[in-house]
Amino acid sequence: MNKTIDEKERKTIPRFLDYFTASTFGLLRAIKIGSLYDGGVVTNQTKIGWTTSHNLFNAVDLVAEAIVTKDFISEDAFNAAQFINRNPKSSWFMTKLANHYLEGTAIDAPELKTVETYQLKISKIRSFLDIYPGNPVAWSDLALSYATLGLRTKATKSMAIALQLGENNRFVLRSAAGCFIFNNEPDRAIHTLNKSDLGSIDPWIASAIVAIADGYNLKSRHLRTAKALSGETGLSDFSRSELNASLATMEIKSGSNKEARRLFKRSLIDPTENALAQAEYMKKAIGLDSSLIDDGRKKVYVPFEANTIRYYFEGKYRECLEAANSWASFDSINPDPVIISSFVASTCLEDAEGAIDIIMKATPAQKENLSVANNMIFSLIEKGELRKGVYLLNKLDISVARDDVKLMLKATRGFAAFRSNRPEYARELYRKAITGFKDLGDNRSAAIAKYFLAREEKRLASDYAEALADEVKEEVKRYEIPTFNILAQKL
């Protein structure tokens, strides 16, 4: 079977991002209302210095001070910046300073990164750290690059150093949580966050604690504080957005859809891209008003994941692939964008080669995920490269895999058996997988496995094909599995 994402399982786990992306997304902004833009003015001291004597030093003093005080409308500072740019004696750094003052605040979209980008980044960060090793942000960025390349031990070691150097910082703490989650250590992630004093005052940290505790059934001693923070009016809506989305997701789990809707509504006033994506995933389950999400989307800088999911639900597969490509690039250790896009390419668009291409371009961290590997095997077999697919399937180490993953691979083995003309064996494997999913209480995956079985039966024009197809249509409808309702109609 080809794996797709399970929208109901999604949590607002903090992303493991590099410093530049995190700051571009505004994740490092102050949490208090009114402290974002100081809107200060340059002091008389530097102004008079500049007006009394137009020289390079006074110009630098004035422009630098205008940058600190965020006085970007000062005519004097503007003239001083132009003076620096025109002066042949200006150093390269002075020109940089002046240009920064003169340039606008528009932000470029994050560049699409490849594996090579991360390799180069590692060497750059290492030389950076050679000069100044006490920089926790650089250690965190190094950890991300290592993690992206699948070097888990190096990644966690680098992150441990980052934590030692900056344990009271939001960016470092959230990155550490993301890193430890990636390394399958959710308890270490929550322990790190719980240990920090920020959990009780910073909604970004409180959100991470709630999401991780909820997602991995771990204890959180910050839940009450998190709820209080979510309603604290002195904090900006943006800073509380992710926390409200995390709490809303928790409410859905406990069956309180009304409270979840209220919290999502609040989280969408000025949403982060993570909170927007969460709302997009959950909107069907709780009947969230789409217009709220649309309004929120306008405020989000790059809603890659939210767009991917939206297009996926709407059946706009080409657009979905494009958005997923950007999502995979900026969220470099998350396998979900690769899972969804390889699924869409291979199953929805019937382009197995396209799916293989997507997976080949994924980062090592994404590729090593068993669901991504499963989709690669599925696409290879679908494309006709049966031997290669089976070879990869046999090579997978599933000793520590979760039960649902083992069942997924069993179904894929069934798919391989169908394509190698062993239908009886294939049916048996599929049957075991479906029963296994049902035993786990995962009826959704059981229905998806049944869909792939029905697809093969139809291909063989077997006697069970029609009855099975009806069964699939009914189950897909019952469990409200997006996209499969469209796919099942083709059976």
């Binding site: 410093y19 530049f20 700051s23 571009t24 505004g26 490092l28 902004r29 102050a30 949490i31 402290s35 974002l36 833009y37 100081d38 002091t43 008389n44 001291q45 530097t46 008079i48 210095g49 009394t52 020289n55 390079l56 030093f57 630098v60 003093d61 630098a64 001070e65 940058i67 600190v68 005080t69 965020k70 970007f72 004696k89 200006s90 150093s91 390269w92 750094f93 002075m94 940089k96 300073l97 920064h100 605040t105 932000i107 950076f128 750290l129 000069i131 100044y132 006490g134 920089n135 926790p136 942000v137 650089a138 150097l165 900056g166 009271n168 910082n169 939001r170 960016f171 470092v172 920020l198």
Partner: protein, 351 residues
């Protein structure tokens, strides 16, 4: 605005002061970055034609403030504090600190009790390091390193007397053609054993403050904080010489750039990683520049810059000093030697 002619401090041209000093010309009006308002003149001693610099306290400006008695109190207190510190320096053998050569009061006729003005006379310099740098077509590495060495000596001499300068910046490093560079202007200095009236509340130059000073963060309640910020400002001079702006200005620019012009200071400890990241980027840029200038010495200069301007004051300074229990963290002796070696090497290469 009060007419300048109504201010006694503005009317000293031609006046004869104690010690044979005659006021020859006015340099500028009250400097706004001063802790107190003063008027500056050039003076000349009649007998030996020695030229000097005169700073006159302007009391009348205090009268224009909303709370004149408070302003007058602050003004006189700041002036007295500087005079006190300068008199201490005078009694010690300081080679690299420009201190006053005379002080006193002068009565300007026609103003009654307000006619009395206090003044300080300083050695007249040939400019400051900014002026010197402006004269060059290409950077003179040996001169820069020697200037850094001399500034370090000046600061060490002050620290030796228990005085923290607190406002060391390029305009405060005076250049004397015959004797090199000297640390000057002790307006904002404070003494270790004298309770300062303002616990660092006076306005520091934004572009030159140490990062902890942006936040008003103190890691020790004694005078150590102030000495540590002096060390930072000494290191900042390296950035001034080689990249053209202070470490603080460079860090601020990087912070602003990294945060799309919207970086907001929250609290020192939480923001420290971002400041360190910005500092790392600045060091990277500095290294590029130093490699162009002298790749053989670039690593050592960079190390000095990294140690002196470390954004975290708890880690600032020479790490080897930590091993000595009786040597304070802000001790500059090792830096003086290191700057001296670097300067000497650069000078030898010129021969």
């Amino acid at each position: 605005m009060t007419n300048d002619k109504l201010r006694p401090a503005e009317l000293l041209l031609g006046a004869k002061l104690d010690g044979g000093w005659v006021v020859t010309s006015k340099i500028s009006k009250s400097s706004v970055d001063s802790r107190y308002l003063s008027v500056c003149y050039r003076v000349e001693r009649k007998d030996d034609k020695k030229k000097a610099f005169l700073k006159v306290l302007d009391y009348t400006l205090a009268m224009e403030q909303p709370d004149p008695s408070k302003a007058l109190h602050e003004l006189t207190e700041a002036f007295d504090a500087e005079r006190e510190i300068l008199s201490q320096c005078k009694g010690s053998r300081l080679h690299r600190v420009a201190f006053s050569i005379a002080d006193g009061t002068f009565n300007v006729e026609g103003f009654g009790v307000f006619g009395k003005v206090s003044y300080l006379i300083f050695d007249s310099a040939d400019g400051d390091i900014r002026k010197q740098k402006e004269l060059w077509q290409d950077l003179d590495l040996a001169w820069c390193l020697r200037s850094l060495h001399q500034s370090a000596v000046g600061l060490m001499e002050l620290h030796g007397l228990g005085i923290a300068h607190q406002d060391l910046k390029p305009s405060k490093i005076l250049v004397f053609n015959d004797s090199g560079c000297k640390v000057s202007d002790l307006e904002r200095a404070s003494h270790k054993y004298v309770e300062a009236s303002e616990k660092g509340n006076f306005k520091l130059s934004i572009g030159y403050m140490a990062p902890e000073q942006w936040y008003g963060w103190h890691f020790k309640n004694d005078h150590t904080d102030r000495f540590m910020s002096d060390i930072y400002q000494l290191g900042s001079l390296i950035f001034f010489f080689f990249i053209g702006c202070s470490a603080t200005q460079a860090i601020d620019m990087k912070l602003s750039k990294n945060n799309a012009k919207s970086f907001t200071k929250v609290n020192f400890e939480e923001d420290l990683p971002y400041i360190k990241q910005a500092f790392g980027e600045v060091l990277f840029d500095l290294k590029k520049r130093l490699d162009e200038l002298d790749p053989r010495q670039s690593d050592e200069i960079l190390e000095l810059a990294a140690e002196l301007c470390e954004p975290d004051p708890r880690l600032r300074g020479d790490k080897k000093v930590l091993a000595y229990v009786h040597v304070p963290r802000y001790d500059l002796q090792r830096y003086v030697s290191r700057f001296n070696i670097l300067a000497r090497r650069a000078e030898l290469r010129l021969i």
